[in-house]
């Protein structure tokens, strides 16, 4: 129902005129997609969300819904719902009145309104609570009401979530997230979900947008973000622990790490003068007792047995790296060993970015 386009949208907050809270960007959010905006606090995720919902007018650029310019429209005139970090309910009203509130403000008649509210209450499993005071409910139910106030408006095309599970108990988070997925499939709404929790983002979204310092650094499926981070930040931020980045040199057409020539998945030569490193996930490092192709000499600095897996800290030249080994009866080599970087699983990074 709505294709959301951002054309060269950027934002600076008043009083911080020299710093972009959101660097100018162009991006299309497909109708019916489930997107997660992932990044650390202060990276511009919420600013981006508020620009789409109309709570903030961007300093530059245009916001288009289905090709219609809505940049200057207030939030109530856009067909957008937003759910905030802390549940917003109208304390003095019942659950029913909370859900009916947006419709009453839009002049719906009582009979039609009742049908619609009950329909949405069924979807959210709030039917039994309709007569209760909203104030008396638990945080997860309040968050459902916040969502419900968005869903009752039949014209709503996209729901924006701003870290909606922050104050929800861990065991309920999972249930609520599953409910969101169900609603997404049932109602075919576009969902934009802001979070700094990678698990939340990766399990919820079809497309994850990773943001850092006001910039989108990569857009992709959870798999793409894990396997081929386009930016060192993505490598660090996704995965636990994050990707290893080992400083290397470029010698006679190949990356050289600790004196060993290393093949990577990068096909192009890196730009000259850039700071080079090889990125490899801890999950893909292999330890061996003897040298071999793509294997660099390492010293084992620490070993942590975590039951199902073993974390091994390696010294590669002057830098440190983690290897995550499955505990399938692996006999660890002695302190001096070799770490093999599978060529398909590692890549060359010039400054911050992956070399294609």
């Amino acid at each position: 129902m709505a294709l959301i386009d951002l054309e060269d949208v950027g934002h600076r907050y008043a009083g911080a005129a020299d710093a972009w809270a959101l660097r100018p960007m162009t991006m299309t959010w497909n109708d019916g997609g489930a997107y997660a905006l992932l990044g650390p606090s202060g990276c511009g995720k919420t600013t981006l969300l508020n620009i789409i919902s109309g709570l903030i007018a961007p300093t530059r650029g245009k916001v288009l819904f289905d090709g219609r310019d809505v940049t200057t429209l207030p939030p109530e005139a856009r067909n957008i719902a937003q759910v905030f970090q802390f549940p917003v309910v109208y304390d003095t009203m019942t659950v029913f009145d909370n859900l009916a509130f947006p419709l009453r403000n839009r002049g719906w008649d009582t009979a039609r309104l009742r049908l619609r509210v009950e329909e949405v209450a069924d979807i959210l499993e709030l039917r039994a609570d309709l007569g209760r005071r909203a104030r008396a409910l638990s945080a997860d139910q309040k968050q459902k009401i916040s969502l419900g106030r968005g869903l009752v408006r039949p014209d709503v095309a996209a729901v924006l979530f701003d870290e909606p599970l922050t104050v929800i108990d861990p065991h309920l988070k999972w249930l609520l997230r599953r409910k969101l997925k169900q609603i997404h499939e049932q109602l075919k709404l576009s969902l934009l979900y802001v979070t700094h929790d990678q698990t939340e983002a990766l399990t919820f979204a079809d497309q994850v947008v990773v943001m850092s310092q006001g910039e989108m650094v990569q857009i992709g499926t959870p798999e793409q973000l894990f396997e081929t981070p386009a930016h060192r930040f993505v490598g660090h931020f996704i995965g636990s622990p994050g990707m290893n980045f080992l400083p290397c040199e470029w010698r006679s057409g190949a990356a050289t790490l600790a004196g060993v020539r290393v093949e990577t998945s990068s096909k192009q030569a890196p730009p000259s003068g850039a700071t080079l490193s090889i990125g490899v996930r801890p999950e893909y490092l292999e330890l061996a007792a003897t040298p071999g192709p793509n294997a660099v000499p390492v010293r084992i600095a620490a070993i942590r047995d975590q039951g199902i897996q073993t974390m091994v800290q390696l010294e590669v030249g002057a830098s440190l790296a983690w290897a995550k080994l499955r505990n399938a009866g692996v006999a660890l080599p002695s302190t001096a060993a070799f770490a093999r970087l599978p060529p398909a699983r590692c890549a060359l990074y010039a400054d911050e970015r992956r070399v294609p």
Partner: protein, 287 residues
């Protein structure tokens, strides 16, 4: 669970200092009053037990009825004006920046003035011959004289109290308003709420706790008002602005009727206690 807990009475020792200080600051003086209220003190060593006599006397006293009646009207008027006006002021104040600081300082100024000075300021301000307000009103052809017309005296005392105490309500309300998280307003915008709906369903409920305190403070303070009308009108003309405190002072200090004055003090105290109790429970009920 609680039945299995070992009983330990030693904790009373920790409460003891508070009990002693409360006893000396409140209970002992109060008991003195109770003592006076049931005796006729004839001299330093001469006292006669009279039972409920003083209570019966003051409860039948038409002067007291008059003062109580005026007091109730005054307090009701003060609350009816100051609470809505304070909320309106708080809503109109700038939200942040130097304008907010300036407005808050200006608003707080009446609160920093000693009460008898407030009375003196208005006493002069409202005078027809040299006071700015009184002079201007007289020049405009309005027959205004607070020392002669009961209505003028009433209006002046009321306006003075509003000037003096509305800032307190406004400051409390302002603090409550600033504590409302931004998403409540943002959600209301997205829900298409009108300005009135935002006030009715977000701001007012969030201010309820603070307004309860403001209401109780103003109820107690206005019910005990003494200094300002004493300086401004001296309770006059006649007894037009004689409220309960002033009546009490006249009895105790002016006529030295310690027995009836003590009896009345207790009744006065109970009235305030009762009003606060009723109001507090009413506000709690509404939540």
């Amino acid at each position: 669970m609680s039945s299995a807990r070992p009983v330990n009475q030693r904790a009373w020792w920790f409460v003891l200092p508070v009990l002693i200080s409360v006893a000396f600051s409140a209970l002992v003086p109060l008991m003195t009053i109770v003592n006076y209220s049931v005796q006729d003190i004839l001299g330093p060593d001469q006292a006669v037990f009279v039972g409920m006599e003083w209570y019966q006397e003051i409860l039948r006293d038409p002067d007291l009825h008059g003062a109580l009646y005026r007091q109730l009207i005054f307090t009701a008027a003060v609350l009816a004006i100051e609470i809505p006006l304070g909320i309106a002021l708080a809503l109109a104040l700038p939200e942040r920046g130097w304008r907010a600081s300036l407005a808050l300082v200006l608003l707080a100024m009446p609160l920093l003035i000693p009460w008898n000075v407030v009375g003196t300021i208005w006493q002069i301000f409202a005078r027809g011959d040299i006071g700015l307000l009184g002079y201007v009103l007289t020049q405009l052809g309005i027959d205004y004289n607070y020392s002669q017309h009961p209505t003028d005296a009433w209006v002046t005392v009321l306006v003075m109290d509003v000037w003096h105490w509305t800032p307190l309500v406004a400051l409390l309300s302002y603090a409550a308003l600033r504590a409302i998280p931004e998403p409540f307003y943002q959600a209301a915008r997205i829900d298409g709420a009108s300005r009135w709906a935002v006030f009715r369903h977000i701001e007012l409920p969030k201010m309820r706790g603070v307004l309860t305190i403001a209401l109780l403070l103003r109820l107690m303070d206005s019910f005990m008002i003494y200094t300002e009308p004493f300086v401004l009108t001296g309770g006059g003309p006649g007894t037009a602005t004689t409220f309960l405190s002033q009546y009490l002072t006249q009895k105790a200090v002016g006529q030295f009727d310690l027995g009836p004055a003590a009896a009345f003090s207790l009744v006065y105290f109970l009235i305030i206690l009762l009003l606060c109790f009723v109001l507090y429970n009413f506000m709690k009920e509404q939540r």
